[in-house]
Amino acid sequence: MCLVGGASPVGVALFAAIATRSAPELPRTLVELQRPLAAAVRKAVPAWLLPETEDLTQVALLRLDRALKREPDRPLTRAYLGRIAYTTVVDEIRKRRREREHVAPDVDSAERPTPAPGPERLAESRDAGEAITACLEAAPPRARDALTLYLLGHSVPEISRLLDHTRKTAENVVYRGLAALRGCVEAKGYRP
């Protein structure tokens, strides 16, 4: 009989990579690695990728495995796990985008419900997005960076930390900058 389809979870290589490190460096169990990695992936994926969270977590585990093989002495920190999750999700987004570019629209797609916003609205948003970019480029440097961070989703406290401003300064820059930005965008004929 030719055996074998031996079965062991994918984490085995990862586990082994960890287990073969010198004793004081030996880290945690797989479950301890998997949990924060899964949480980071779940947090990072855009809504349209949510159903793939589990698969992406597995891919992230494999990447971690390979990274540990390359650099067995690398300290394992949450930040490092986060970086693995980050690159995994960005790569998946890029891959999906490439696939979309190469797939012809299918016949059924016309019958499927279109998620809001509709194509026209989306096009308007994109145009408005370009107008926002142009307005940002014309803004004073301090406001430009603060507004860019705000538009990326950061809160005022985060902006103050990243730009090394006081909270009050960041608040002023963002508040005033947003008013000016909206005025600039609308002057270009767009209403986001």
């Binding site: 082994a16 880290p27 970019t133 440097p141």
Partner: protein, 224 residues
């Protein structure tokens, strides 16, 4: 104007179409910038790229989400444990010095099948269990390239299985579909280009008679 009133601006900024994908160096810079570990000049440079290229902005958003998740957790490094638990690949390395007969005999004794699903657990719980229980890592087997058999636990009569095999770099090797038995032989030609020692990853998706689908964890096996 309150910042909260600017969600429309945020939405429009994120709707900009991607023109050029981000390269690895930029991805790395974005991560550092979001983590607050860049100089002001580098941060300004990354933000400039964010404005210029929507893909960089997208990467930033992903990085920010991850950082937010990490910041919610305790900031300290993950604690390390002194306890040594040797994984199966370690066993395999130890077995490398043995004769192949010994290794195969060991393999025959400890062959482990796909973890069966219990009645009250869905596929998510199944996968989580497999990944989470360290003591399940008891065996790293090999397959003979001339007859590479994969076997797993049978599910109820009428279940149809699909098996996907990749390398550990996730390159597709082979796929077997519409299988009515819990085993599959990877076609030899699909393995011919792979050197001995290649780690193959494989996973089973089972479609039960009631139409529900269940995935196994991903397993690995060494090609010999």
């Amino acid at each position: 104007m309150k910042p909260d009133a600017a969600e429309d601006l945020r939405a429009a900024f994120s709707a900009r179409p991607v023109r050029q994908e981000v390269n690895e160096a930029t991805l790395s810079m974005v991560w550092k910038a979001v983590s607050g570990s860049t100089s002001p000049a580098d941060l300004a440079s990354v933000l400039e790229q964010v404005r210029r290229e929507p893909a960089v902005a997208e990467a930033w958003r992903v990085a920010r989400s991850v950082r937010a998740e990490l910041d919610d957790e305790e900031p300290a490094r993950v604690e390390r444990q002194g306890k040594v638990v040797l994984g199966p690949a370690h066993w395999w390395r130890g077995a490398a010095g043995m004769g192949i007969g010994t290794v195969m005999a060991m393999a025959a004794v400890v062959v482990m099948y796909v973890v069966p699903m219990s009645e009250n657990r869905g596929p998510v719980a199944m996968r989580a269990d497999v990944l989470g229980i360290e003591n399940t890592l008891v065996y790293a087997g090999s397959v003979d390239r001339d007859h590479a058999v994969l076997r797993w636990t049978a599910l109820p009569e009428g279940t149809v299985y699909t098996v996907t095999v990749t390398t550990d770099l996730l390159a597709r090797v082979a796929r077997g579909g519409a299988l009515d038995k819990p085993e599959w032989v990877i076609p030899g030609p699909q393995l011919s280009a792979l050197p001995d020692g290649t780690v193959l990853l494989w996973r089973v998706e089972a479609t039960l008679p009631d139409g529900s689908k269940h995935r196994s964890a991903t397993f690995d096996v060494v090609l010999r």
